[in-house]
């Protein structure tokens, strides 16, 4: 597979390295519980930013470019002896043919930028003077079927589940739906219209993989990606609480799968969690169901109305809901998000995303 690489200038890469990597302090001051204290990821800030997944443009055709991300790898050489050659192998290219990284002069940073389609997940490793190594900076790991760990990244608009099992997705779908406006009659009607009338291009660019989602506006997918990357320290909260919720619901209704249980059961569960008093909850394992609910509320609202590149607000359905709902006496919308957002998501001729 041919790999398209592009040049990013040194400053672009150093803009991340100076703030996040460079330091004297070696204490684990960035470990929120998800890392071991001796890991490099515990000592650096926002390790999830690596590799850097950013907008791509060829500088000419912005709509065509929208299908791709520019992914910038940064290898951070530890210790005083610097390697001679650093490359990267990965599923975005040829697994047996390392793409070379160049050293940024006078720094321990090696870098290379590759163009990768949106909506994808890839595994990669560095090849350092012939030795194959995981990326110590990026906390994302995946264990392949042969038991081998690889470093992982995913691009924007990714809809492939990375964090949750199917049963977890099912329960989360129900809980987030209870919070959002899309289970109201107006909300349901809106979504039906919205997704049925989206044109072919919108479907291709905005939710090419959305058939994998059986959830309104992709909020669960947003949370799945957020926990895989920016807020991986919250995986433990979700894992624990979804298991406890599953247990509570099965105890209340032993015959139906939790994801299929009636709305009323979720309403009642939600109310009990809000009161921090859930009948049957294992408080020894997780002290406050209300705390989890608060976390879920922040993630749910953010996922419904964030930029769609994060995997929620699929096709900008959340924004379109506000656009349609709020209109003046002449029928003109009072939320003109399209005019300020990049094409093809929006209609701005000036902003390129």
């Amino acid at each position: 597979m041919a790999v398209e690489t592009i040049q990013r200038d040194d400053v672009y890469v150093l803009n991340y390295c100076a703030k996040l990597l460079a330091r004297d302090d070696r204490s684990p001051r960035h470990n929120f519980g998800q890392f071991s204290d001796d890991a490099l990821t515990a000592r650096i800030a926002e390790p999830w930013r690596f590799p850097i997944v950013d907008s791509y443009s060829d500088g000419v055709n912005f709509e065509q470019s929208y299908r791709y991300n520019a992914v910038t790898f940064v290898y951070f050489a530890q210790g005083s002896a610097l390697p001679g050659a650093v490359g990267v192998i990965g599923t975005f290219g040829n697994l047996y043919d390392p793409v070379p990284l160049r050293r940024i002069a006078e720094t321990p940073y090696y870098t290379m930028t590759v163009v990768v389609p949106k909506g994808e997940v890839h595994q990669y490793k560095y090849v350092v003077d012939g030795e194959i190594r995981l990326d110590e900076v990026n906390p994302q790991r995946v264990i392949l079927e042969n038991g081998q760990p690889w470093s992982r990244f995913f691009t924007h608009l990714c809809c492939i589940p990375l964090t949750f099992e199917r049963w977890e997705l099912g329960i989360l779908n129900r809980l987030t739906s209870h919070i959002l406006p899309f289970e109201t009659e107006d909300g349901r009607n809106f979504l039906e219209r919205f997704y049925n009338t989206a044109d072919r291009q919108t479907k291709d660019t905005q939710y090419a993989h959305a058939y994998r989602l059986d959830q309104p506006v992709g909020v669960v997918n947003f949370i799945d990606k957020l926990l895989a990357k920016e807020e991986s320290h919250r995986v433990i909260d979700y894992r624990t609480c979804l298991e406890l919720i599953d247990r509570v619901l099965r105890r209340r209704n032993p015959v139906t799968e939790p994801s299929q249980m009636p709305k009323e059961m979720y309403r009642q569960l939600y109310e009990e969690m809000a009161q921090d008093r859930v009948d049957g909850w294992d408080y020894g394992r997780y002290g406050s169901p209300r705390f989890f609910l608060q976390l879920l509320r922040r993630h749910t609202f953010t996922g419904a109305f964030c930029h769609p590149k994060y995997g929620g607000n699929v096709g900008a359905a959340g924004w379109a809901y506000l656009e349609e709902r709020y209109r003046d006496a002449n029928g003109q919308t009072l939320f003109q998000w399209r005019r300020i957002m990049e094409r093809p998501l929006g209609s701005s001729m000036e902003y390129h995303g």
């Binding site: 703030k19 959002l180 003046d328 003109q336």
Partner: protein, 600 residues
């Protein structure tokens, strides 16, 4: 690793690329002087400066308020608390600001940072670019002998108020220069400040919701003018920027502008000199301390993007990395060298008289619904509450600008995360706590709040107090092992009186404009973490003056006992002014730059 750092000697070394540093770099580099600007933050460019026409700033709500991180530092009361910083704010575990809470505990805060990026705070600000009034420069004289000041039983105001060592007339030409070179739109008529020239670009049509502000201000007889904003509305020849057909977007306050229409100091003042051979910008370069020999700063020590130590030398050294960090840098240099400490702090005033603003305002539901996503940060302002007559009628020591905000809560995530709170430390809290907002109730929340609320703010002088101060924290260190800044401040009883008066005045504008129900209003002293609240207007701590026993800097912003050390960010201010400070910092920096032209 070798450490070939390039050129070491310059006419001027400028620490910080924001409002206090960039005007000096611009002036000196244009005059042919060799200049290096050292900036801790990254260089993020607008689209028009990029080959691929992409910017590192995005119209993305998660750029302004990022994912959750947690405070991990030992010995702070809010260890474990969540924070959600912007992509160009510092990481609070790497470089926290710590303030002392009412109960004596130490807490980490995100307040008080401007932004760490080339352009500094001017990248994220709303762009409100008001002049101070002539009265703001002579508050000591104005208050002498007054017996009508409210809630000042010990006469603190008269004891602590200071006249600036320069008056309005001296800085006025530099206001005009800043307005022209930075690129500001607004109107001059009805401002209570004398103008020798009108350099404003024309303002855009106001957001429709702002007509209520017109109604309210007119009903109260408040002369109003279009709020001066650092956003270009026409081509701007001094910086080579082109106007946009569609510049209005609520991605303005707390967002960098991908189009470069917001007149941050990178696009307005540094870009025009960036091609000169005698100018160098070093982004991602943090200054750790200054070294001196006798009365001269001989070396500026810094760490480059890879963390390697470097030094540069300048005939003059200008410290302008935002008041808290500038004071910290001087104190760190003093901590490393007793001789430096004796020269920079002979009278124990360095870090003292730290100031922010008395700020607050009112907010109400207005009839109808408006598209607040098509807006700049503010439309109308008035100087009504800055007149001597108003101050005497209300027993106030100093005046305020009042203006409306239009971009607040204009976007859906910001609407939710600021629900019940506009405070960066408490963001999201009310929305996540209000568990009743689900389904139909969430729809009702959106129906009630989306495009329906209007706020009016005041920005006023805070009484200077010696006990309000910046110190080095005794135990907490940054990622380079250096003590972090420790903020100790409180509100004076007169500040509270002033804020209560002005908040009610803002509410009255909304009442007269036909607000639905009684407005919410108040001053920041009522906030839950009132001691932390800074409005990101960080001022004082190295005030200038005519008396070396009463100030840190002389009237030219030079440290009294150093021949070549200047401080030109907001730290120089002896009083905080009745308006947002950025334009005054820029104007003063242009003034100091002209003085330096004769000496380097």
């Amino acid at each position: 690793m070798s450490n070939d750092q390039g050129r070491r000697q310059f006419d001027a070394v400028i620490i910080g690329s924001g409002a206090g540093g960039a005007p000096i770099a611009h002036t000196l580099a244009r005059a042919g002087k060799t200049v290096v600007v050292l900036e801790k933050g990254p260089l993020l460019k607008p689209q028009y400066q990029d080959d691929r026409r992409l910017s590192d700033f995005k119209r993305d709500e998660l750029f302004a308020t990022g994912p959750e991180k947690r405070i991990q530092l030992d010995n702070v009361a809010n260890r474990g608390a969540s924070f959600y910083s912007s992509h160009i704010e510092p990481d609070l575990n790497d470089e926290p600001h710590i303030y002392r809470e009412r109960d004596g505990s130490d807490r980490v805060t995100i307040e008080g940072y401007t932004a760490q990026v080339v352009g500094g705070g001017t990248q994220l600000y709303g762009g409100v670019s008001l002049r101070f009034t002539p009265l703001d420069f002579r508050l000591q004289s104005f208050n002498e002998g007054r017996r009508d000041l409210g809630k000042d039983p010990k006469g603190d105001v008269q004891r602590e108020a200071r006249d600036w060592p320069i008056n309005y007339e001296e800085i006025e030409p530099y206001y005009g220069k800043a307005e022209e070179l930075v690129g500001i739109n607004g109107t001059r008529a009805n401002q209570s400040k004398p103008f020798s020239a009108d350099k404003y670009q024309p303002p855009l049509a106001p957001n429709p919701i702002s007509r209520f502000v017109e109604l309210g201000m007119d009903a109260l007889g408040m002369p109003r003018y279009r709020t001066p904003l650092a956003v270009i509305t026409q081509d701007h020849p001094p910086s080579g920027r082109k106007a946009s057909a569609d510049p209005k977007t609520a991605f303005v306050n707390r967002y960098g502008d991908p189009l470069g229409l917001k007149s941050n100091t990178w696009v307005s003042l540094l870009t025009p000199i960036s091609g000169l051979p005698n100018f160098e910008l070093r982004a991602n370069c943090v200054v750790t301390h200054l070294e001196h020999s006798g009365s001269r700063i001989t070396k500026v020590h810094c760490r480059n993007a890879a963390g390697l130590s470097q030094t540069v030398e300048g005939k003059v050294v200008i410290v302008a990395c935002s008041a808290i960090e500038s004071v910290r840098l001087l104190k760190l240099s003093g901590q490393l060298n007793g001789g430096f400490e004796r020269r920079i702090n002979p009278n124990d005033l360095l870090g003292k008289y730290f100031l922010t603003h008395c700020f607050g305002g009112a907010e109400a539901f207005m009839p109808g619904r408006y598209d607040k996503s098509m807006t700049l940060d503010s439309d109308w302002a008035t100087d009504f509450c800055a007149s001597e007559q108003y101050l005497k009628a209300n027993g106030l020591w100093a005046g305020a600008a009042i203006y409306n905000n239009t971009s607040d809560q204009a976007l859906p995530i910001s609407l939710a995360r600021t629900h019940g709170s506009q405070d960066l430390d408490n963001i999201w809290r009310a929305f996540v706590d209000d568990t009743s907002l689900t389904g139909d109730r969430l729809v009702q929340f959106l129906d009630g709040n989306f495009g329906t609320r209007l706020s009016v703010s005041f920005m006023a002088n805070q009484v200077p107090l010696k006990t309000n101060r910046i110190e080095l924290h005794p135990t907490v260190k940054d990622k380079w092992g250096r003590p972090v800044a420790y903020i100790i401040k409180e509100w004076h009883s007169h500040d509270m009186h002033l804020m209560d008066t002005l908040a009610n005045q803002c509410a009255e504008i909304l009442r007269r404009a036909g607000a639905q129900g009684e407005p919410d209003y108040g001053g920041v002293h009522q906030a839950e973490n009132a001691f932390a609240r800074i409005a990101n207007h960080i001022l004082g701590g190295a005030r200038f003056g005519r008396d070396r026993n009463d100030s840190v800097l002389d009237a030219n912003c030079r440290a009294w006992d150093f021949d070549n050390l200047y401080v030109t960010d907001g730290a120089f201010m002896p009083t905080s002014g009745g308006a947002n400070p950025t334009l005054t910092i820029q104007a003063n920096a242009f003034r100091v730059a002209d003085l330096l032209l004769g000496s380097v």
